[in-house]
Symmetry: D2
Subunit: 366 residues, 4 copies
Amino acid sequence: MAGNSFGTLLRITTWGESHGPAIGAVVDGVPSRLPLSEADIQPFLDRRRPGQSRFTTQRQESDQVRILSGVFEGRTTGTPIQLLIENQDQRSKDYGEIAERFRPGHADYTYWMKYGIRDYRGGGRSSARETAARVAAGAVARVILARSAPGNAIRIRGALVQLGPHPIDRSRWDWAEVERNPLFCPDPGSVGLWSDFLDGVRRSGSSIGAVVELVAENVPPGLGDPVYGKLDADLAAALMGINAVKGVEIGDGFAVAALSGEDNADEMRARPGGGVDFLSNHAGGILGGISSGQDIVARFAVKPTSSILTPRRTIDIHGHDTEIVTKGRHDPCVGIRAVPVGEAMMACVLADHLLRHRANAGLVPL
Amino acid sequence: MAGNSFGTLLRITTWGESHGPAIGAVVDGVPSRLPLSEADIQPFLDRRRPGQSRFTTQRQESDQVRILSGVFEGRTTGTPIQLLIENQDQRSKDYGEIAERFRPGHADYTYWMKYGIRDYRGGGRSSARETAARVAAGAVARVILARSAPGNAIRIRGALVQLGPHPIDRSRWDWAEVERNPLFCPDPGSVGLWSDFLDGVRRSGSSIGAVVELVAENVPPGLGDPVYGKLDADLAAALMGINAVKGVEIGDGFAVAALSGEDNADEMRARPGGGVDFLSNHAGGILGGISSGQDIVARFAVKPTSSILTPRRTIDIHGHDTEIVTKGRHDPCVGIRAVPVGEAMMACVLADHLLRHRANAGLVPL
Amino acid sequence: MAGNSFGTLLRITTWGESHGPAIGAVVDGVPSRLPLSEADIQPFLDRRRPGQSRFTTQRQESDQVRILSGVFEGRTTGTPIQLLIENQDQRSKDYGEIAERFRPGHADYTYWMKYGIRDYRGGGRSSARETAARVAAGAVARVILARSAPGNAIRIRGALVQLGPHPIDRSRWDWAEVERNPLFCPDPGSVGLWSDFLDGVRRSGSSIGAVVELVAENVPPGLGDPVYGKLDADLAAALMGINAVKGVEIGDGFAVAALSGEDNADEMRARPGGGVDFLSNHAGGILGGISSGQDIVARFAVKPTSSILTPRRTIDIHGHDTEIVTKGRHDPCVGIRAVPVGEAMMACVLADHLLRHRANAGLVPL
Amino acid sequence: MAGNSFGTLLRITTWGESHGPAIGAVVDGVPSRLPLSEADIQPFLDRRRPGQSRFTTQRQESDQVRILSGVFEGRTTGTPIQLLIENQDQRSKDYGEIAERFRPGHADYTYWMKYGIRDYRGGGRSSARETAARVAAGAVARVILARSAPGNAIRIRGALVQLGPHPIDRSRWDWAEVERNPLFCPDPGSVGLWSDFLDGVRRSGSSIGAVVELVAENVPPGLGDPVYGKLDADLAAALMGINAVKGVEIGDGFAVAALSGEDNADEMRARPGGGVDFLSNHAGGILGGISSGQDIVARFAVKPTSSILTPRRTIDIHGHDTEIVTKGRHDPCVGIRAVPVGEAMMACVLADHLLRHRANAGLVPL
């Protein structure tokens, strides 16, 4: 399958380069008659938008989304929804230096090796700018999720749980705090430390990695299509496919390696009135690739931006040794803006599986 | 897409339950005229086969594979290759106890919630037995990889790098050692410790997690289909979809969170005579979702088996509180036999991307 | 996508060659808890089975199907269903002559050009024998269709409406007659003529074409996924993909070219008590790629078998001019046994779209 | 799969409604470094554009295409190509009457039944306007086909071979004539008759059907992916999925029903210097679902437009009996403008299969 689409019944196709006229997403498979307007999408784009604090790139983009199709009189029609975002601040002059040199750790080199041509302006298609289209699509997916259960719909939230070497103190986790600081930090006690640390990174023209955590609440049991369309496998692909991500965990993640079967077992008790209570959630809400009804918990690690001021040894497109310094506007920590991107990818995966589950469930009454 | 297939041009479909008459895989999209016989597949199945040491389940399966289609006079014909493995040792009596109770941490519960019916014998479709079909398919994928470059073909190897709380000492890594001990341990200095530790786990009827590392050598640059068919995204899905896996890393994985851009940059030097030398491999051989030509390094974490002798609190299918103890034959550490399974999944993903790359490359001479 | 699968949510993968040990189909995506056993499948295979009259090949195959997976205690589990049919009568000696010569009008030549290798025994994968796997899969699809509406489930029937130059008289159409004669002819008045005609064809070692018509009743409105997953487009692919088919029509088919808009309009009247009555069915039950609730009517044309006794000029695999005469056992009219195959393909397409429709419908109450 | 995409390696996704702000296509999977600009696409859109003669709708659309992504410095980059066409002449007042009534023979009713909502303005997504996006995508596919063989690239042409009850005289076929008359008629002797006939249809506010024939030359042998990705099956889906199409034929099509095996056999002779000459082309260039190297010949039948001035009985969205007369601008014969649309669909299918074939061919030298 050509590589710029994902999802089975809810199918997202994104297009566009950092410095082209526009970027966008086609969202196909949205059930009809759901209320949808730009106002449902814009707030999520605004969360991801650059230039909102000193901790993100100073590129100025209003990221105004336009719905070009698939909506009639305020409701979805079941036809593909084209979401278009114009590029505005494309100072191409900033990027002249990287036209012929590869930034170590960047996709510059591999795009060149694969395609033999490269839109070097701002990273072209490999730019983090592409993630705006993901966020727009994710907002549409959330409209589907909002219908998953009356009064108890699926909710997805994300936060930064580690910035560079500094993890949060989980005992202080406060979801409300995430919206109060520009770092999506859920730990009020870490915000100051992180801000100071990141100021240092920024001033030295360096960059730093991070870890993002996502939580989906109210996910009904039964989502996931084993054994190769497992919910966790689809989440892993969706999150690993975000720019700069190098690791994905579900639930306890790599910590399970050190666990015994006794410790790892999420014991169960019947809930008075029906349903089940789990006494722990090492599994992160997914067992055998299928949602259990517990919160789905996923984490992903984001590497530091490769655009830094310290010279690095590299080669140019002619195969000669050289050095590179990346000036221009860049995020000192792309992990920050990866929070809304991760949420969007999780929303797309869950909405797709929700639709897939509906297809197969209930042909015979339970 | 129905969930028991994966891959685009090389497409694997597996079928079968732990205690049905047989399991198998259909491998579609294999180029024609490649030499193939059961002898190319059996050694890989033998590596995964249970009952070979005291550290794996004592279920006795010869795991003899039969090619039912797609091969004519010793060569592939381009038509689908059906690989069939009969089940032999299906002591169903061992599993009577779990017919109505859910093992905490196991897919028992989620299959029941999704499907309303469950082949509880040996875990049915969610059994690790399904991975034999993956290994058989992976062996066919290796036949494709063997053609990737004359004398320099892609090679995939795996090893266990952590058993429970005990990681290997990487300074002692020896690939030859992996084939000498039943734990796929590359560190001669860890084998004794691990054996003793695992004996303790086994004798107490407990289980333990592990971490597997995979390395693919000689992968040409250019494999991967950004931005949603990225090579690392497809690897993440393939590895996360293996039974009991809870985390996947590429290259430095979660450690990148603490890295600076300077440290993370894999600097490059022109190689005399052509090509490029990277001075490090934090990226694990993948940049922007495309292979760079460096070794591809991936790791995945495997949780402990949920089948243990210590009673755990659970519910039954009627919604009543109860306890469960899982007797019968089980792996104390499923992570061990996950090594050949992980290799197979990586082989399938790389072979698929190799074919996809061929479709798109070279229409215009570079 | 590799070419031996079709369907989106109900996904069929077939495998196997005419003279290999077995053929089969994996049916993935079947909802769980549907009653299913070999007895639900065998009658459809028996209808297609060769050697039942003098009008079909005398190859003797019992075509006994075995379910190897996906069914537990008589009900589907939601996991893939492997259907296996062993080949029994593989008189390979009959086919020695065609090993190096291409039958004009047969896939011999194109398989050779595409794959550079060819299992020439009985046509290998391009043999009509592959259609047994389609029929088996179609029987499983019918089990899904049987649940489409209580007491009013989707029903699919087919008939031969033209044999060589002899069309039926539609005024005498009798579905019961289809089951009474070996030609699937719905017109009692044509059976004698057709039998005599076909005896002549058979005795002269020739072959002849035919037209098959399929009717699906009780299809609910709303199936079909415009604009590239249209119900008629998927039916067209499914029917054109049957061996030897060269044309497909929906409703009036090619006759619409000569119709005016007035004549083509299927006028509508409100049905007392709800629903709609159409006053004609030129559309064949599909408008804009979506089922209208009327009977779905499709036809397909089957060419004459290329295996005939009259010498034809051809070349051999070495590129030399030669002639070929095809002895051995062959159907004088493959169109006859295409009737159950066409029904099966239609069943698979409708069941897939039924599931797809369920995914998207009803998220908001109408 | 969500329904607004088609193709495997060359993947087309279209979006947009007749009276929305724009329509477009995302073309993904185009190999990199191919020269491409709007000038390669516009001529094909101009051929399909309405309002160019009195025989097509008088809606005025300049159909100017813009490439928003995937092209850098005049060459493709391997990333998705977004083609955008703004809608200009959207006289919505013309369509007020059909907002609540269903045109018999139109998708009005089925969209309503499937989606419960309908963008009735100009037919919304089911409008023939959507085919402009297909034509734009087809022009990109032709750029791939142009690379299929140096000096001997695949060429696709189409013509109208029947208008209403009037077929052409094939003995007078002249490809140059197709470009000289507004009816895409290849028979100079039919143009006058057809024009007079169509004037009568138009003046009476009626409409009429037609048959289109497509021919692809220089197609190499080996394209097609049996047995469910057959080239003819994919063509059948692509052509049946064009608005108003009710039948598809390959080669002799339905006429094969009356042929004997002797007559149907396309005999072969070795070509001096290599290759093969076929003595006839009943097969239309496809055998066993794979191209033979002969011209690929396909035909499709287009029904008359359902928008006519004569009142037809119908119901409204409230389920009441009523009548409908469709005023406004409509094509008296949508079959005419279906010629460039059919060519585009064939180009997309062939380009996709060309890429798929490249993936699988040549891993072992022939």
